[in-house]
Amino acid sequence: MKVIVDNLAVNYELKGKGKVVLLLHGWADNHQTFSRLISYLSSKYAVVALDLPGFGESETPRQAWNLDNYADFIASFLTKLSIENIYAIIGHSNGGALAIRGLSRGVLKADKLVLLASAGVRNSQPLKRVITKSVAKAGKVTTFWLPKSTRQSLRSKLYGTVGSDMLVVPELSKTFKLTVAQDVQADAAKLKLPTLIINADNDPAIPAKDGERFHYLIKHSKLKMLNGNDHFIHHQYANTINQEISEFLSQ
């Protein structure tokens, strides 16, 4: 289903009835990443999942956006759907960082928060980040003579090799730089809502200690560390994640 928000056509899914649960996907992903979670939760809740602008079937913002622009947009989207109260927000990866920033600024309001392999601790591995940036920059310089498609695929590989889930989407490269530049640790420290944090101990994109860091910063949080090496924990450990979330939301 589509709706026009701030002159952008946005694709979303609204399934189930009851208290509203909002799902926010990560970078280069779309709302269908949550298809199993949506099926599971929609028997008890009204689950709203949107393709964030620039991803899935939603139009791309006309300017580069940071997390604040995205959070403001989500607020407008909810107003458009006449949704006033959010019971819970569930964010994966960059969607987690977005939820933290939106809640801390008061643009988004919710009773509960679930962070799945959440991004937002931008300086946890300074060396790794430096390598990422250097390799990516080197990639840009040394590959400028290659065909555009080869260049993009190579640059995506470079980002992938150094352990980032945030593949470069060409038309969103400025937005990518703005969003990954935003560290949300100070925002996380302001949160007072009950929060469930789930991470995988060998996640190649988000280190386990980022989850521990959020657990330390968010007062009423609970950390569940899974044994695994997949960043898309809601796919690989779907049953566990669904049950953990369901239990947390019903408390």
Binding site: K2, V3, I4, P147, K148, S149, Q152
Partner: protein, 385 residues
């Protein structure tokens, strides 16, 4: 004997640009490469509206790998010469020209299928495949097509159309106009194909949001009542004066009873996703699972509609059936069906090559008939000056 050169024109400035690439390459160019009488010449219109021709444009991988922009940056756009036929010229130090024996338009949606290309080819006086300009213009305007069909006694669901500027200016008067319709309703941009921006709504709030979505893509909108106990069927038709139907086909609808873009081109009718290599038949029942009389009624109404709109060459008529009342309604007509609906024609006994060749034959037949019309009218009008 040398083969007749047939320019296959595809791409263009349209939301259905990518669908057109597949139609042209898979259903027209590749089969015609086996033809003993016709030689396909690929003519690709890029998203900026520039025309190009090069043998590599016949390779689907050029588009799927995203190499097309790089490739085109090294090519010069074609020069077109019109009048007494159509000639395309590759510019350069030694320009090369080819006179086209016929043109096979394979564009979908705006700036092509909507009649613009047919009009251009008509001006050039070159034989071309498919509907002519007036019928394309009517077919590509869902409101106009329904108005003409209704006038000819063809049943359609109850509908209201309006310009989006009227809704943006004074939505109360538009909503009053719409209040005579019964929910659930379908909201559609009138000019877009492939079910882009179509919404099914159940309440006034949803209706306003859906109109905004349609208005985001088009300046004219149609809102129509949904048919109960719905069976949707589609009928590909081919011919000039005596059109013939292929098989009546029953697409698999999504959960909102919409045969949408995703169902057609992405999921290919499979729940939970399907690989693009799967056959087009995957998304439909072919032939439709209908009682004999209903099947015949659908076929008859489709041909009647094809004639009423003035189609020639090829088109596909979409119908809606209320399975309880057994009533068949005209929904919409597509002057250039995606991939020509070759899978359906194939099952009707026509190979991909024969389908493409027959369509060119029909284009030549129509062209010949038109040449017999007198286009001059002797008067003494100028003498008085």
């Amino acid at each position: 004997m040398s083969k007749t050169k047939v320019a296959v024109i595809f791409g263009s400035r349209s939301a259905e640009h990518d669908v057109s690439i597949v139609t042209a390459i898979a259903s027209i160019i590749k089969p015609l490469e086996l033809s003993a009488i016709y030689e396909p010449v690929p003519v690709y219109i890029d998203k900026q509206g520039r025309w190009f021709s090069h043998p590599r444009l016949k390779d689907i991988a050029l588009y799927t790998t995203g190499q097309i922009d790089d490739f085109l940056s090294k090519q010069k756009p074609l020069l077109l010469q019109m009048g007494g036929g159509m000639k395309i010229t590759w510019p350069g130090i030694k320009p090369k020209s080819v006179k086209l024996g016929a043109v096979f338009p394979a564009t979908h949606g705006t700036h092509g299928e909507d009649g613009e290309l047919a009009g251009t080819l008509e001006m050039a006086n070159v034989p071309y495949v498919g509907c002519d300009m007036p019928s394309s213009v009517i077919a590509m305007d869902k409101a106009l097509a329904k108005t003409i069909a209704s006038y000819e006694g063809i049943p359609t669901p109850k509908y209201v159309w309006f310009y989006s500027r009227d809704f943006m200016g004074d939505n109360d008067s538009v909503l009053t106009k719409l209040s005579g319709l019964t929910y659930p309703l379908f909201v559609k941009p009138v000019h877009l194909g492939s079910s882009i921006a179509i919404s099914k709504v159940n309440s006034a709030k949803e209706l306003i949001n859906a109109i905004e979505v349609a208005a985001h893509y088009d300046d004219k909108i149609i809102v129509e009542e949904a048919i109960n106990n719905l069976i949707e069927v589609t009928v590909p038709i081919m011919g000039n004066a005596s059109p013939k139907a292929a098989l009546v086909e029953q697409p698999i609808l999504n959960s909102d009873n919409v045969f949408d873009f995703e169902s057609k081109y992405i999921r290919q009718g499979k729940k939970g996703g399907a690989k693009s290599s799967e056959s087009a038949q995957g998304y439909s029942k072919l032939p439709a699972d209908l009682p004999k009389e209903l099947y015949a009624a659908a076929e008859e109404l489709a041909i009647k509609t094809y004639k009423a709109i003035g189609c020639s060459g090829i088109a596909r008529v979409d119908l809606l059936i209320d399975s309880k009342t057994k009533k068949v309604y005209f929904n919409e007509i597509n002057p250039m069906p995606g991939s020509l609906y070759a899978h359906n024609w194939k099952k009707s006994g026509l190979s991909n090559l024969k389908l493409a060749e027959n369509l060119i034959d029909l284009a030549l037949e129509r062209f010949k008939a038109k040449q017999k019309l007198t286009t001059t009218f002797k008067t003494t009008y100028l003498k008085q000056y």
